[in-house]
Amino acid sequence: MAMRETDDSPRLTPLGDRLPLQEKLLRRPEDLSDEQFDLLAAAWVEDALDNNALEELDQIFTSSPSRKARAESFRNIRLIPCNDTWNGSKKALRHSAVNLTLRRSIIPVLAAAAVLVAFILAGPAAIRNTAGRLPVSLHEVAVMTELTVPAASPITMERRMAVSEVITDPDPDIGKADHQPVIAATETPRAVPIDLIQRAAGPGLIAELPARELAATRLNNIRNQAVQEDETNWIAKGIVFLAKAVTKDEKKVNGYSVANACVNGLNTVLGWDMELRKVSDAAGEPLSVNFNSSLLSFSAPVNKSSR
């Protein structure tokens, strides 16, 4: 039998194998499950839906206002950055070559120099302080006395006395008003009007000083030549001590060796090319010191006293 054209055209699936109620499988937007709807809503608040999806979602919102409220709640699912700060940022920073040179070379050198200077300066002071420390000491306080002189008096006298000129007694009664300082014998006697002598009981202190602020000045507190020499030697000793600590070798340190070490140190740290040379005579006595660099050159004679 010939196939008629009015019948169905040839198909891959026979007529009996077709789904009779195909439309029952079709879904409307309202049929979405909660989970499906949530995913759609999450995409909606992210503005990630295309026009077709938006159209479907509008239908859902129209048919079910509660679902619209649920979808709106996704707008609140947003994380706000907290104030977490990274504490290691300083460690991650890098420095330029100039900064590195400063941090690693010059600053330690300056710090070492500052320590050296402090060491040198503090040493003699410490020796002096430990030599004779008093619980209370009074240095360079001037006590001024005034006399009440009548207007008719031909002489107006004002006397100033320094503490160093006054021999005081560490007696606790020293602060009393009637205490009379004893003038040192070195002071030149002065003429005082007779009426002044008669009227005034004597020069008195204007302000009464508390006894605890007064104490005898010890003689060894006065710096003398021996202490100054010791201080000079102390500087050399300090340098020798530092040199020994660094090189583990005791060497005699003089001005030239210190200056030479400074020049060498600067050459090493800064990469400069400076030279310090000592010129000596046949006997080995230094005559002069020559300094050469790209910027400056000079020659300084060595004094006999400083050899």
Binding site: E35, D38, L39, A42, A43, V45, E46, A48, S73, F74, N76, I77, R78, L79, I80, P81, C82, D84, T85, W86, N87, G88, S89, K91, A92, L93, R94, H95, S96
Partner: protein, 161 residues
């Protein structure tokens, strides 16, 4: 990139990268190490990276480093065994952001990271895909699913009925 630009990258993005990593793994020491490693790596190839691309590079590198750390540490990778009892410790908290951050910890690491990149840094799906080594569709899926999980968590602890 110059040294100055590198230092700018440290000052400008250091906190952002740290915040992203810290909120992803909830461990300040590890986060600090990861960010340090990331900047160390950046410094090693500082001349090869343009400053305009450094932000994305930092997040990508830090993310990959974090994934390595997570893989090495089984305690962090096993989200199925994550003890979420602490998440319910302070259910009465009214601070939604705080609750959300606590809830974030129960998400899988990838979802957590893409949500953080989206919300904290405002990256697009394309940028997040580049950072995390995913496709754009995957990023969208992770973000949407993550948001649904967060919302369900809030519902669970009765923040929202």
């Amino acid at each position: 990139m110059t040294v100055k630009e590198y230092n700018n990258a440290v000052k400008e993005f250091g906190d952002h990268v740290y915040r992203f990593i810290y909120r992803s793994i909830k461990d300040s020491h590890r986060a600090d190490d990861i960010v340090q490693d990331t900047y160390e790596k950046l410094w090693r190839c500082v001349t090869e990276i343009e400053y305009s691309a450094v932000r994305s590079w930092l997040f990508t590198s830090a993310y990959n480093r974090m994934i390595d750390v997570i893989r090495k540490d089984s305690r962090l990778v096993d989200v199925e065994y994550y003890d979420d009892s602490s998440l319910f410790a302070d259910e009465r908290s009214n601070d939604l952001n705080e609750v959300l951050h606590r809830a974030l910890a129960m998400l899988p690491p990838v979802q957590r990271s893409v949500i953080l990149l989206r919300d904290y840094e405002g990256y697009s799906y394309r940028e997040i895909a580049d950072i995390a080594g995913l496709t754009e569709a995957q990023v969208k899926t992770y973000i949407f699913r993550g948001r649904v999980s967060l919302r369900n968590y809030l519902e669970k602890i009765s923040v929202w009925q």
